[in-house]
Structure formats: C-alpha cells, structure tokens
C-alpha cells in the first residue's frame, strides 16, 4: 500500500510541477532533489551584464524548480571585481556562486580561490549527459582552466568588441559604409562628426579594454611576450601611435565629456541616437534592437576595424564559478547548470533577444540566427567571425595575474591624452614607469 501511495504522490506531484520543469528546462528527475535543497539559500553575484540582468528575472523559475532560494546581486563591473577579489581572498563562505571575471581569472584560479568543476561536470548523477559541456565554445572555456586543464568556470558570455553605428544613416548619406580599417574609421568620423549636431565617436572609458585593439592594431602590445615575459611595452612607438590615434578620435569627434562614458552610458548614447558610432561589446550592441531603442532602424554593425598590423578585436569570456569557501557547492552547481542550460538560454534568446551565447548548438541554429538579426545584419555571424580571431592568441596579455595593474595604468594614460593633460608620448612613458613599479611591487621579476 505504502509503495502504491508513494507512486501516486510522485505522479501527481510531477504532473503539478510539470509546467515549471518545462519552463525551466530542468528534467523531472530533479524533483527528487527539490526536498534536498528546500532550506538552501545561495548567495550569488555577477557584474551588471545584460545576461546577469536576465538571470535575475528568471530566478523565481529556478527557485520553483529546485526549492533553492537565491540572494542575487549585480553591481557594476569595477565594484563587483573589488568586492569579489576581497571576498575570495578570505576563502569565506559569503558567496556560493561568483562570476569568474576574465581579467582576474588567472589570479583567482591560480590562487586556488575557485572549486574545480570537473567533478560536477563528469558526475552523471549531478550532470546529465544531455547538459553537454562539450557544447560550450572551447575558446570561451579555455580562460576558465588552470595549467592542468581543470575547469573552474562555466562561461556564460564570450564578449567581443565590434563596431556599431546607431545612426548609420548619417554615414550612408556621406557615401560611407561601416569602417573596416583605422584609416577608414578616422575619415568616416571626420565626415559625420557634427551631422545632426551629434558627436561621431565614443568608446567605453575602460580603456584597458577598449584601447587594446588599437594598440595591437598598430603593432604594439601590453607586455613583451605574455604570459612568459611580462615586461610592459606601453612606451613603444606603436603604443604612442595608438594613444595618439584614440586620443584624436575621442577629442575631435567625441562628446564633450567623452572620458566620463562608462559602458552603460556609451550604449545608451548609441541607443538614444545621441552619438553616431561606437566600438562596443556585442552584448551591449545587441541592446540597440531592444524595445525603447531609437536606433533600431538606423543601426548597422561590423567587425572591429583593422589596423596597419591586423585586426585584434577584444575577446573575453566570463563564467560562473563556485568559491572554495562555499558551503553549498551542490546547490551552487544546480544553479550554474540551470543558468547555463540550453533550455534556459533558448528561452532567454526567444524572450529577451539575448545574443552573446557560448553554446555552439544555439549559435548554429538557423532559427536563432534569424531571431538575432538586427536591422538586417546577421549579428551572430559577426560574433562568430570575431571569435575566430581568438586563434591569433592576441588575448594572452589579458589573463596574466598582474593585468589589473596594467589595466589601471592604461586607462589613466588614455585619460591624460584625451584630456590634454599630456601628449601621447609623455603619457605612455608615465604608464610604462608606473606599470613597471606596480608589477615589481607585485613580485614580478622584470
């Protein structure tokens, strides 16, 4: 009798919760786990990316499916990194799931602050084969591994730098297309600056990210030969030329307060039609197609322009990881599994228009391609084409453990150039000196 009753309850329970499982894309087998996690509350934080915002909106579905409650926080990028860096260093249990930030990945993973995820990924009782880890883009997973090949983060985004014109109509009116080279970019910005009283150009003021494609395009780099040789090369002739170039773009064709534009402001300016063109992240350029955008029908997109030495778009992945101090690792893995399940990502694509996907099965789905077209532009093809440049290995500079130091100095150097406080040569020389001092203080032998 007892056995029969239990079976009936299971069937009724499964039927009652079936819609939730379908919505969450979580297999009914997890119903067994629901009771197991009923009293678990996870503390989760990520920086304020579009994906992180969408996850916040879907959290009730996760709680409904698993019984796990979530305290969820998405501060701005620099604030998140400072907070996570400090929390992780204590090896405390304040957070159960954190974003493994690209520029901190080497530092955080190398210091042993994150849990290897292989045991979760390869354990079929915790992760069904259908979840398909191999489906994640290898290029986005590699920064999440240590030297031994263990995986510490599940990448939720492969963010790439591209070109976006919110007012492409103004470029077209001048007989111009999307700029493909640095020369074309400068000529285009000169041609359209001031049209409709609009500034032509803006980039996010995190120049440790947005300046590097120009630096490498001119033939320079941040370090001599990362990750082996970390001697900074910020005062090279190529670095000075790149700083002069970017300085001119922002000074001559940027809005009055160009240095004050963080990624949100730069994206908003583009969406609201207050600036003509920007080199911005794919995930943020996608927002030009969101409701409320004034640039939906006037926008166009392209690859990051190439410099004299080639095309070096910024490519970075961020992933979900479990801090070593977490006391709820199994529940944390449930969250990561859910947040990166194909079903949820499919839903996010369909309902939110999310596009910086790391699952190749979604990227190669024709329906997805159609859904992510923006004003006639195949954004997914641009995304895939940009990701292909990762094979050049030009992003190695970014995952060395002392990149945050160089990142700070590069940002300050470009600020000095754009504000006119120093010329490019002086400013890059100062960045070089400061970076050397900071690296030595961090124990790097130069």
């Amino acid at each position: 009798m007892a056995k029969k009753g239990a079976t009936r309850r299971t069937v009724i329970g499964a039927a009652a919760t079936a819609p939730a499982w379908l919505l969450a894309g979580t297999p009914p087998a997890h119903a067994q786990q629901r009771r197991r996690f009923d009293n678990v509350t996870l503390n989760i934080a990520c920086w304020a990316a579009p994906y992180a915002r969408f996850i916040g909106e879907y959290l009730p579905v996760f709680t409904e499916a698993t019984g796990i409650k979530v305290n969820y926080d998405t501060p701005g990028f620099p604030i998140y990194n400072q907070r996570a860096d400090l929390e992780l260093s204590t090896r405390g249990s304040a957070y159960d799931v954190l974003n493994v930030t690209f520029i901190y990945s080497s530092r955080w993973i190398g210091a042993g602050w994150f849990t290897p995820l292989d045991e979760f990924i390869n354990d079929r009782s915790k992760t069904p084969e259908s979840w398909n880890f191999a489906d994640l883009l290898p290029g986005s997973v590699s920064p999440m591994k240590d030297r031994a090949g263990k995986v510490y983060g599940i990448p939720w985004v492969a963010d790439v730098l591209m070109s976006g014109a919110g007012r492409f109509d103004l470029l077209r009116a001048q007989g111009l297309g999307m700029p493909n080279t640095f020369d074309e970019l400068e000529r285009a910005m000169a041609a359209v600056n001031g049209k409709d009283s609009l500034p032509a150009y803006i980039i996010e003021n995190h120049y440790g990210w947005t300046f590097i494609p120009f630096l490498q395009g001119f033939g320079g780099n941040v370090f001599r030969n990362p990750p082996e040789d970390l001697y900074p090369t910020l005062d090279s002739a190529e670095a000075v030329a790149a700083a002069e170039y970017v300085g001119k773009l922002l000074r001559s064709y940027g809005p009055p307060q160009a240095l004050g534009y963080d990624v949100d402001q730069a994206t908003t300016a583009l969406r609201m039609g207050r600036v003509i063109y920007s080199n911005n992240n794919h995930a943020f350029l996608r927002l030009l197609g969101e409701q409320g955008s004034r640039a939906e029908t006037t926008s166009n997109f392209g690859l990051m322009p190439a410099g004299p030495k080639g095309r070096f778009p910024g490519i970075a992945s961020h992933g979900w990881g479990i801090p070593t101090g977490s006391r709820n690792k199994d529940a944390a893995w449930e969250f990561i599994k859910w947040a990166m399940s194909k079903e949820l990502l499919d839903r996010m694509v369909a309902e939110k228009g999310y596009g910086s996907i790391t699952r190749s099965s979604i990227l190669n789905d024709p329906a997805y391609r159609r859904r992510t077209m923006l004003n006639g532009v195949d954004m997914t093809q641009l995304y895939i084409d940009t990701l292909a440049f990762a094979q050049q290995g030009h992003m190695k500079y970014r995952t060395v453990h002392v990149y945050p130091q160089a990142n700070t100095q590069i940002t300050k150097a470009i600020e000095r150039v754009v504000s006119g406080e120093m010329n490019a040569r002086e400013s890059m020389r100062q960045a070089q000196q400061n970076t050397i001092a900071d690296l030595r203080r961090s124990g790097v032998r130069l």
Partner: protein, 299 residues
C-alpha cells in the same frame, strides 16, 4: 576612613567606570590600528598567502613609499583639496550663519534646509553631484548654457576635476561650520553689540571688531575638524572621478584604496594608511593644543 583610602577608592571607582569604555576603545580602535601597523611591515598580497606574516623586510614598504612619486603627488593633491575645501566651507558657512543669525520664520526654515546636505548619506551626495556634472543630463550645465555662460565638463578636465570635488564637498559640509558659528553668534551678549551700534559702527566694523573676536575660537575649531575630515574624502572621489582624469584627483586614501582593492597589495596599502594615521594624529594633537588656546582666549 582616611583621606588616602578615600582617594584610592575614588581612583578605583574611576578606573572601573572607565574600564568598559577603554576595552571598547582598545577593541575597535587600537587593535585594528596595531594590525594595520603590523601589516604595513609585511609585503602582504592576498594572492600569496605566505606574505601575511613575512617580516623579513619590515622597512621595504616605507622605503618604497619614499621613492613613490605617485604617493607624493597624492599627498600634494590632498593638501590642495583640504586647503580649498576648508577655506570655502569656512567662508560659506560663516556667511550663511551671519545671514541667518536673526530669526524670523523664514530664516529659521532656511536654517533647517541648509542642514540637509550634511545629513545626506555621502554616496547620495556623490550621485547627486554626478548628475549635476554629467553634461547630457545636468540641469546646472543646461541652465548655464541657457544664460549664455556654458560650463565645460568639470570632472573630465584635469585642471577642473579637483574643483568639481571641492564644490561638491563644500556643498555637503558648509552646514557644519554654519551650525557652529550660529551657535557661537547666539552666545554673544547684547551689550557690546548695542554699544557698537550707539558708537555708529557700520556692518563691516561690527563684524570685524565685535562679532569676529567672539566667534574666532569657534571658527578655529570648525576649521581644524573640517581639516581632519577632509583627509577622509573618498566617496565623492570614488563616485565622481575615480581618481582621474589620469591622477588629477587621486588623493592619498584613494591611492591606498587602489593599491589594496585593485592590486591586492595590502602591505603597501597599509603603509600608506599608517602614514595617514600618523598625519591624523599630528593634526589631532594640534587641534587639542589650539582648542585649549582658544578656550583661554574666550575666558
């Protein structure tokens, strides 16, 4: 009971009464300060756990600071910021207090309104001024442009960014001086004021020869308190300029913050903080000395 025994008992009672406060003081102030000092003698880097108690080169951080131009520059920026904010807060606070000294209902209402900036959370003040300084959305910029006096972007201009901080900090803290001066003005007896009026003193003479001698000690105390507080300027810089453009607004505590929170160099950052603590102690000692002098003058 002998008088010696009574005195000893009184001392014991005082010591017992003070003990809880001293314990709390030791736990919340002296212990962290001691830990700060110890950390400053190590190369503590959070990514290298072995550095936590490495005292093999206790002087290295301080030698490094001696040669660190950015640290020196941050101290100089701090001096400029402190001088400008304290001076402006005194002048504005004094001026407003003189205007609001005599009360009708409107002035009493104004006094209350003027106190608002001081009681706002610092981060709210930062956000408010961020809006004011963001050209695209700032009512201040729009108004100035409308009257034909356009203001350049303040926070991204290296020659103006520090002034942007000064203006916001003055707005936030002039009520402190205003409040102290108002209290001092209320304490001035009527007789000398009446006598000066009978002697035909004009407003300037009244201020210079009658009011100022009475409120000078209060102004001194306000100045010194604001001076100490100005060293703690952080939220406005964090929200408005992030220490930039370049290093134009990187004051010493912001420099220490970057070393610790961005680079994980906690030992080095602790050395910067320790020197700041020493500077604050020196200022406190000066305050103590000057306050004593001020009291004697009032008496």
């Amino acid at each position: 009971m002998s008088s010696r025994g009574w005195s000893a008992g009184r001392r014991r009672a005082f010591a017992l009464g003070l003990a809880p406060a001293l314990v709390v003081l030791a736990v919340v102030t002296i212990a962290p300060a001691g830990y700060l000092l110890l950390t400053s003698l190590t190369p503590l880097n959070l990514t290298m756990p072995g550095t936590a108690w490495d005292f093999s080169g206790p002087h290295y951080n301080y030698v490094d600071l001696w040669d660190d131009d950015r640290f020196h520059q941050s101290a100089w920026i701090q001096v400029k910021l402190s001088a400008a904010t304290v001076t402006l807060q005194l002048l504005v606070g004094l001026g407003v207090a003189l205007l609001l000294n005599h009360g009708n209902w409107l002035r009493r209402f104004a006094r209350t309104i003027f106190l608002v900036p001081m009681v706002l959370p610092p981060i709210a003040v930062g956000i408010l001024w961020r809006v004011m300084y963001t050209v695209d959305i700032s009512p201040l910029h729009r108004f100035m442009a409308w009257i034909g006096l356009p203001v350049p972007p303040l926070t991204t201009d290296p020659s103006l960014a520090l002034w942007a901080i000064v203006i916001a900090d003055t707005w936030e803290w002039f009520p402190f001086t205003m409040l102290l001066v108002l209290a001092a003005l209320q304490m001035i007896p009527d007789a000398p004021v009446e006598a000066a009026k009978i002697d035909g003193a004009n407003d300037l003479q009244m201020f210079r020869y009658v009011l100022l001698p009475y409120i000078a000690p209060t102004l001194l105390v306000a100045a010194l308190f604001r001076l100490i507080d100005s060293v703690k300027a952080f939220p406005l810089i964090y929200v408005l300029t992030n220490g930039g453009p370049g290093d134009a607004t990187t004051v010493t505590n912001y420099y220490a913050f970057v070393q610790a929170f961005n680079f994980s160099l906690w030992g080095y950052s602790s050395a910067v903080a320790t020197l700041m603590v020493v500077a604050i102690f020196a200022l406190s000692w000066i305050i103590d000395r000057l306050s004593g002098t001020g009291d004697a003058r009032v008496d």
